[in-house]
């Protein structure tokens, strides 16, 4: 088995008296699609926050390409090629999709104009259009503020942004929660395609059919720790639900 692109050993984090992560493990290889499931409060979002540089942990180790790293900021995670779509999407509502897409990564003009802060607006617009088309996203207008768009369109912008920049790992925290049937199908297809490009995709979902449809492997969390990791092809929804609730403890737990 190849070295996992991202591996987590014994991660713990307390919020006051609540043990949000309790010696949690996690691993994912390049090109793999891993679904992270668990009941509310199982520690899924906390784990994703820790792995995207948004949360400091109390103890534990994060290995990237087999090397131990410290993730202290989202910018640092981005540099490693790790991108995250949070549940709240983290878009600037008054900016348009292109401006959001390139926020913090603007393509500058060459030479003096660039040094003065002028940007290649047209290039950014064209590249964004390509990215949205690839996603099959119905982003109606590239020049309207994203705040004026529907939840599905905003989600499409956030997902397109993440997968355009993620070379190695992308985290999607409930990417289909706000979407209609067709958009959901688009997103699931995109997850598959991103995985096929060799990027590791981690997605949190409460929808078992979606998990079964796209995931290679399912990792189940309960009470802040990994209770099982199973191949999607070798499990059933009933088994997964059993593992989430603790009624069933079978599985390749680490």
């Amino acid at each position: 088995m190849p070295t996992p692109i991202l591996e987590v050993r014994g991660l713990s984090r307390m919020f006051g008296h609540v043990q949000a992560l309790d010696n949690a493990d996690f691993d994912i290889s390049a090109g793999e699609v891993v679904a992270l499931i668990g009941d509310n409060g199982a520690g899924k979002s906390t784990l994703v926050k820790a792995l995207s540089g948004n949360l400091a942990t109390d103890s534990g180790q994060i290995l990237f390409d087999g090397n131990p790293i410290e993730l202290t900021s989202p910018a640092q995670a981005s540099k490693l090629g790790i991108e995250t779509v949070h549940q709240d999407l983290a878009l600037a509502p008054h900016l348009d999709p292109v401006q959001n897409m390139y926020l913090g990564r603007e393509i500058m003009q060459d030479g003096l104009a660039g040094a003065l802060g002028f940007m290649k607006t047209k290039v950014m617009r064209e590249k964004s259009r390509v990215a949205f088309d690839e996603l099959g996203a119905t982003v109606k207008s590239l020049t309207s503020p994203v705040g004026s768009m529907s939840g599905g369109q905003r989600q499409a912008v956030a997902i397109a942004r993440a997968i355009s920049w993620a070379d190695r790992v992308v985290f999607l925290d409930e990417p289909t929660a706000a979407l209609g049937v067709r958009q959901t199908a688009n997103v699931l297809e995109t997850i598959r395609r991103v995985g096929d490009k060799g990027v590791a995709v981690v997605f949190i979902s409460h929808s078992m059919p979606h998990v079964m449809e796209v995931a290679d492997r399912v990792q189940v969390m309960r009470l802040g720790t990994r209770v099982a990791t199973v191949k999607a092809s070798e499990t059933s929804m009933e088994e997964l639900v059993g593992l989430m609730t603790g009624a069933n403890t079978k599985g390749g737990a680490a």
């Binding site: 948004n54 900021s73 989202p74 910018a75 981005s78 949070h86 983290a90 878009l91 600037a92 509502p93 008054h94 900016l95 348009d96 401006q99 959001n100 926020l103 913090g104 990564r105 603007e106 500058m108 003065l116 802060g117 002028f118 940007m119 607006t121 119905t138 982003v139 109606k140 207008s141 590239l142 020049t143 309207s144 503020p145 705040g147 004026s148 768009m149 529907s150 939840g151």
Partner: protein
């Protein structure tokens, strides 16, 4: 007014289904005008006011010399307004600009008096000292707001008092009425060809640079992004704290520039004369369509917003109305402007399903403006 709104409202409705993603250019112009809508509505108000005064007093109000007077009087406020627009777009506020103006002018006047001389050497040093003094207060504001996380309203209320206090301490409370003659003669009273005041030319340069920076550079983009969602900006790696400090430093530096311009225009530090300046500038920025909640605004709007009080004051004097009515009228325009902003914000946040009243106001007036 409601009669003329109706056709515009209908046209907007009819236009919508025809739009599709294949014609982004149309979107661009439509959205562009929507974003600038309030600035154009207020421009329309300004034009109406000018037409009314011109009709009532054609021989005095509409003259070139009177126009020149209005423009000259608005110039220093315009320099302050450019900085204030940046600050308010970040969802901040700067109450200290009037005091910083006084402080910078006073420090510059003291330095120039020490050096002596009436030439450009002394004047140039004075200009630099004034701008740097203002920038120093701006940096103090910015650091306290971005790093110490004290709300901008409180920080700048504090520095408002401190800057004015230091100006009084430095001067002993007595206005300095000396300034190099070149500064007063050329910058304060000078004209370029065609009788255009040098003060106004300087203000125009600041305005144009401000517009370019805000619209076309990364600095401007981050200013909007931070005002729109500080959290979103932070998560994609924008150095929010540093940017906020730069924005307040810019505003302070412009207040410093305004300080030396004021000294040039009035030949005095006018320590007691700027107590309303901050509120007048904030009112102009808000009237011009910049949202106090951040993320929206234009410098063009601010300039138009400055002219409304200036024209009203001048016009009331000319047609013989008590000039005190100006304050009443400006207050009403201000409240109206914020009301429109509120409804527009509500429309944006509800995912495009606008509050019908807001759409009537924004949409209706906008298409009026096109006619």
């Amino acid at each position: 007014m409601s009669d003329s709104e109706m056709p515009g409202e209908d046209r907007v409705r009819v236009a919508e289904p025809a739009e599709n993603p294949d014609i982004p250019e149309r979107h661009q112009s439509r959205v562009g005008s929507l974003l600038r809508a309030q600035a154009f509505q207020i421009l329309l108000v300004l034009i109406v006011i000018v037409i009314i005064f011109s009709a009532l007093a054609p021989d005095t109000f509409g003259t070139l010399s009177n126009t020149r007077l209005i423009v000259q009087n608005a110039s220093i406020l315009a320099v302050l307004g450019v900085g204030m627009t940046f600050v308010i777009i970040t969802a901040g506020i700067d109450l200290s600009i009037g005091s910083v103006l006084v402080f910078s002018g006073a420090v510059a006047a003291l330095v120039m008096r020490e050096i002596g001389g009436e030439g450009w050497g002394t004047a140039t040093i004075g200009i630099i000292v004034s701008i740097l003094s203002g920038m120093a207060w701006g940096i103090i504001n910015g650091v306290l707001i971005a790093k110490a996380k004290v709300p901008p309203l409180i920080v700048t209320l504090g520095t408002l008092g401190m800057a004015l206090g230091f100006a009084l301490i430095l001067t002993g409370g007595i206005d300095i009425r000396e300034a190099p003659s070149v500064l007063v003669g050329v910058v304060g009273y000078g004209n370029i060809i065609g009788g255009i005041p040098v003060l106004s030319v300087i203000a125009l340069v600041v305005i144009i640079i401000g517009i370019i920076v805000l619209r076309f550079t990364k600095f401007g983009r981050y200013t909007y992004a931070i005002g729109s969602s500080e959290d979103a900006a932070r998560r994609v790696g924008v150095k929010v704290d540093r940017h906020l400090i730069q924005v307040y430093a810019l505003t302070g530096a412009l207040a410093g520039l305004a300080g030396i311009l004021s000294l040039a225009q009035f030949s005095t530090t006018a320590i007691g004369g700027q107590s309303q300046t901050n509120l007048n500038v904030i009112a102009a920025v808000v009237i011009g369509g910049t949202s106090l909640f951040g993320g929206i605004g234009t410098i063009f709007g601010t300039v138009v917003g400055l002219f409304i009080p200036a024209v009203l004051q001048n016009g009331f004097v000319i047609i013989g109305v008590q000039p005190f009515w100006q304050q009443v009228a400006v207050g009403a325009v201000l409240i109206g402007a914020v009301y429109v902003d509120q409804t527009r914000r509500a429309a944006t946040q509800r995912g495009g399903k606008s509050n019908s009243l807001g759409r009537k106001l924004v949409g209706g007036n906008r298409s009026q403006g096109k006619n």
